[in-house]
Amino acid sequence: MAETRTIVALPITPRLGAVMRLRLFLILGVLIMWEATAASGLLFRDVVPSSVTVVRALVRLLIDPDFWGNFGVTAGEVLAALAIGATAGLAAGLLLGASRFLGRAYEPYLNSLAPTPKIIFFPVMIMAFGVYAGSKVAMGALSAFFPVALSTAGGMREVDAALVKVGRSFRLSTWQMVTKIYLPAIRVPVLNGMRLGFGVAVIGVLLAETKLSNQGLGYLVMQAYARFDMPQMYAILLVVFAVAVALNAGLGRLTEPRHRRT
């Protein structure tokens, strides 16, 4: 008698569940260690406050209109910085990527300036753009410029030569070549550059705010620190972290490969 065997496809969900469980374990572990440290009294008062205190501070923060004012200032500075830095970076990247000659001439500058901590230029920015938002935007823009320029230039060199030939064979104008072939072809590297650029623009703006300012989230953090209000400081950090993660995920979605509209 032949043995009948049923082949059951292994469900995929339990494995995904395992990954999620592992992730949650880590968060739980950190929370437990956090609470244990807070309760132990080993560290100086409030360096590690109980998470309950932090949540309470977070709630207080979120209902404080003054906080939202400062949040708006920083958000505006970051957006302005990204707009300026990314536009300049895109233009520079397109030029350097389109011309092998220009790329060979100038890309070494970009490559060596990119990893330089931009904060060393902050005194110059203060003198050039003033102590207010101008210098913060300048810091963010300077930071965002490099990743966008480098990944755009790299993306341009990766554009499939066959697609360029198609464009030439259909006699596209230079403008059409840029808008119909190059820009769509480099969409993913440019967006990835913008993601990185966004990250460093936030760093640039916040860092500048902590150094010299009278408004913005960086300023609030330094104030909380000066008052030794650690719960409030952690609450601000949580907000910045949450916003950064959300925006990063949003930008990441744009880089996913295209599929059929259903």
Partner: protein, 285 residues
Amino acid sequence: MSDPTVVPWPRPVSAARPESVLTVDDILVRFQTRDASVTAVDRMTFDVRHGEFISVIGPSGCGKSTLFNVIGGLITPTSGLVTVAGEPIRGPHPAIGMVFQEESTFPWRTVLDNVAFPLEVRGVSRRVRLEKARDVVAMVGLTGFEGHYPSELSGGMRQRVSIARTLASEPKILLMDEPFAALDEQTRLLLGDKVLQIQQTLKQTTLLITHSITEAVQLSDRVVVMSYRPGRLKRIVDIDLPHPRTSEIMTSDAFGHYVAEIWGDLRDEASRGMAEAEASRGART
């Protein structure tokens, strides 16, 4: 214009045969490398007649892709002329539609938007170009896939999108460079049938660059045989097989006879190419 030795240079335009839509006239392409100049195409002359299917065949490295780029206007020849209806071309010509060997669909456009592309860049209104694109998509047998992205299609389907895109620009001459090279043999045969069927329906003048003898004989009215480097015109073979034709013609005696005849021409050239490639490989190591 059949015998280039007797016609004085410059040849009068009126000397072109009335039915020829494209002439390749004494094309010479020489590339300058660091320490030598290489002749890729050496004084190629032939004409393409209205409505015919003509193939250019030659061994690997005979300069047939270079010739493709010259006719398409992407490479300027060292000397010689390509003329369309008597008018010498300078750069890509609107009467010539190119299909490339490589994968060349736009991955960010749907099938329909890919096919409508040449009309879009010419400023044809959205409604008209999509309608036209739908017709061409149907012609290459991709109805139902209009909304798909190339990544969702097979290689053979993507190459049909490329062909449809070029057909949508309504070229007088369809110029293809080994469009089936990356496909498996069975797909290649079926696609050949499809292309031939479209060519017959549209009376589309077609110039195919290929290295496949069977493909050339299956599809063509005439086959231009090129020699190994420098690529010279070796012979033009008339393929006198009845139309309508499908890949089934491959079983006929006449087909076998043509294949044997062209292989007879190509054999020496191909083995010369192979020997040279091996020698240069040996010299490098």
